[in-house]
Amino acid sequence: MRTAPFEYHRAHDIDDALEWLTRDGDREVKILAGGHSLLPLMKLKLATPTVLLDVQGVSELKGVTMEPGWIRIGALSRYVDLTRDPTVAEALPLLSQVAATVADMQVRNRGTIGGSLCHADPQADIPAAVLALDGRLIVVGPRGERRMTLDEFIVAPFLTVLEPTEILSAVEFPIPSGPQQSVYLKRPHPASGYPIVGVAITANVPTPGHLSNVRVVVGGMGSKAYRAYATESTLNEKELSPETLRQAAEVAITEAQLSDDADVPYHSQLIRTYVERALHRLYGGVA
């Protein structure tokens, strides 16, 4: 399959890239990162940009840097980089773990964290991790830089607040203060490997058997990854037991955000089961 014809350009740096995006309002300029969502869409003619702007040479979008209290992950970081980078593995093990569950080795060698977030596929794995780890998306454009949460960034399936002239440059994560536990549990679709459900949980462990700052995120379902706030409240500062975990998973059903075409009994059961199993993993690590 061939894509429709397009012009191809390589941006040298971020200013060059921004200039390309603003140069000519009539032409649809699309950023090409790993290409593992965009090229399949272009082959199906579901996307027909006139200009492809390859940003693989833009060093400002690459790399992992530590700043006081924060860790900054360049948008062009590939899944394979996230699984291998020792800084990420140390500070944000959840992100490494999630990246390792995406697709297969070949896709992980190309796909990027920025591409996944900008594509905003409701079935993607990365958004759940970004929400659970309270990441901030750094967007640069002609009017400077803005920072936002995942919830602010993703509007609806395949729709973000990015203007056509803007670039996602990085995602910044607060470095957890004190011991944090995290877990990602995914049920992959047997054919595609995308999550049918993916549950990401982070929590601080002030004393054994207690959790605080619990964030329970359900991804892969509905229109975008969401926090299960009521489920979190049943766990925060409570004495943990298998019974409280079971109750929390029941609460997760009551606040399930399913898509319109969901098989409600099946998807509710999946949420309950995966929240409970994920909590058991976390609990196993903290008891």
Partner: protein, 168 residues
């Protein structure tokens, strides 16, 4: 819209090649049609099957999901680049352990397995199965593929580390 040609240069199997191509030419088509390297197969053309896997700078990639222009200045290895004066140990192992039936998926499987063995020179069966998650064999010959990759691992460890003692 006009189809502008772009000049690209990359190294394929150790040889530098330059061509004027349309930017929309996929790496898989570039290899097969421009260079005549038809050992890289196109199975699904939808990024699923891995038959088209080649190495770009040593990393396994589905060449139906990469533009040739993205590989400017990079080094691509295809199945044709493996054998030197003798078969590559991966090829020898697949021959010995019957790792192929119709052979359609085989070049993609071998290229993927080569990166896998770089990460895990001594892989467990489950590491092999997980590592080969991105390649589908329509003949479903996974058992012999796993055996072949295990055998390749032992051939390669003997080849590369003749002085080291095998443990376990």
């Amino acid at each position: 819209m006009e189809n502008h040609l772009t000049e690209i240069t990359m190294t394929v199997n150790g040889v530098s090649v330059s061509r004027n191509i349309e930017p929309r030419v996929l790496l898989a088509h570039f290899l097969r049609e421009e260079l005549g390297l038809t050992g890289t197969h196109i199975g699904c053309d939808t990024s699923q099957c891995g038959a088209c896997t080649v190495l770009i700078d040593g990393e396994a990639v589905k060449s139906c999901t990469v533009l040739a222009v993205q590989c400017m200045g990079q080094s691509v290895t295809t199945i044709e680049g493996l054998a030197q004066t003798t078969l590559h140990p991966m090829q020898a192992a697949f021959r010995e352990k019957h790792g192929l039936q119709c052979g359609f998926c085989t070049s993609g499987v071998m290229m993927t397995a080569i990166e896998l063995l770089k990460q895990y020179p001594n892989p467990t069966e489950s590491q092999i199965r997980q590592g080969l998650d991105g390649v589908l064999c329509r003949c479903t010959g996974y058992e012999t593929i796993v055996r072949s990759v295990q055998h390749a691992a032992s051939l390669m460890s003997k080849q590369e580390l003749p002085q080291e003692e095998e443990v376990g």
